[in-house]
Symmetry: C2
DNA sequence: GACCTTTTCTTGAAAGTTGAACTAGATAGA
DNA sequence: TCTATCTAGTTCAACTTTCAAGAAAAGGTC
């Protein structure tokens, strides 16, 4: 299976296939694990929890919808639905943006903040036990580097945002 | 934030937090990327594609539902829905299991196999470009090891399946 | 201002996922 | 055998995600 057919499709080496399978395996188990943990302890899926965390770290605990969507790596549509749900729970509220009448700010409520404070320790502990408790310091460092490389490669790039002279 | 409050909740170090963010970032971008790639080129989400791959590698291209669910790390319920959909596409069919009247075999059809053959090269290429083309051989090796450790830690364990003497 | 394009956010329907409830068949013990 | 329990798989309802479409405001350009 490692054979390279010149011109034809290039497959993965046996080692690469093994790594890919391990990657898929580990990441799906991790996501399932955290989804269940948070559904049980915080009553929401992992993504929603991530939204609250983002808001909690933003100045004045609020953020424009589009910016929040970008930070959390989800579509604006998905965010609209998510915020609607979190609003029903009382953890987030919306407010019109004063400077742009199209805009909306999503705001973490006190209830939302309290819920976060309550569930954060358990969640951190779950992450630690699933990942950091099992890896050597060297592996942690290496994992960080690898994940940053992969993310950079998949990032929409936002071309010439940093290269205005190319316009 | 690196401060440890003895007895209180233990947080992550700054480095661990950074690694965790990079991990979430990279894995969600990767999953989105592959989902879109396969939806576009094969007309199905990544998970469904994975089911076909599993079947294609099984003896006689068939597998019991429960076993398939276990291999693909999804619930039996999710698999039922997925197979129903793949059946509509003509890529999979079901057959009663002869030895166990409760049982069903999911079988990869010729059409399904053809579709897989058609879309595999593009998918492999997407995986290569997103991951292996960007990592050094040493990083690939390291990633494999790390992912295996994490997966092992999250695995349901299946206690004493390998330890029958403990019964 | 009038016109065109872009951006922001929401909506609605279709597709996918989850967890619990349920049916039917297998299994084990009295 | 009769009964209780377990396993395989499906189904239902509630929820989440996606995609395409749309309303409203902003930002040009003439």
């Amino acid at each position: 299976m490692t054979t390279a057919s010149p011109g034809g499709p290039r497959w993965l080496t046996d080692e690469e296939q093994g790594v890919w399978r391990a990657y898929l395996h580990a990441t799906t188990l991790m996501e399932d694990h955290l989804d269940r943990q948070l559904q049980r302890d915080a009553g929401m899926p992992h993504v929603y929890y991530g939204l609250l965390v983002h808001l909690s770290q933003a100045p004045r605990r609020r953020k424009r919808m589009t910016e929040l969507a970008k930070d959390a790596k989800i579509t604006r549509s998905r965010l609209s639905h998510a915020v609607a749900r979190l609003e029903k729970n009382g953890w987030v509220r919306r407010e019109d943006c004063p400077s742009d009448k199209r805009g909306q700010n999503a705001i973490l409520t006190d209830e939302g903040h309290a819920m976060l404070a309550r569930s954060a320790p358990g969640h951190v502990e779950a992450v630690r036990q699933a990942m950091f408790a099992r890896l050597s310091p060297e592996q942690v460092r290496s994992l960080g580097e690898i994940m940053r490389v992969i993310a950079a490669g998949l990032q929409p790039e936002d071309t010439d945002a940093d290269l205005p002279w190319l316009r």
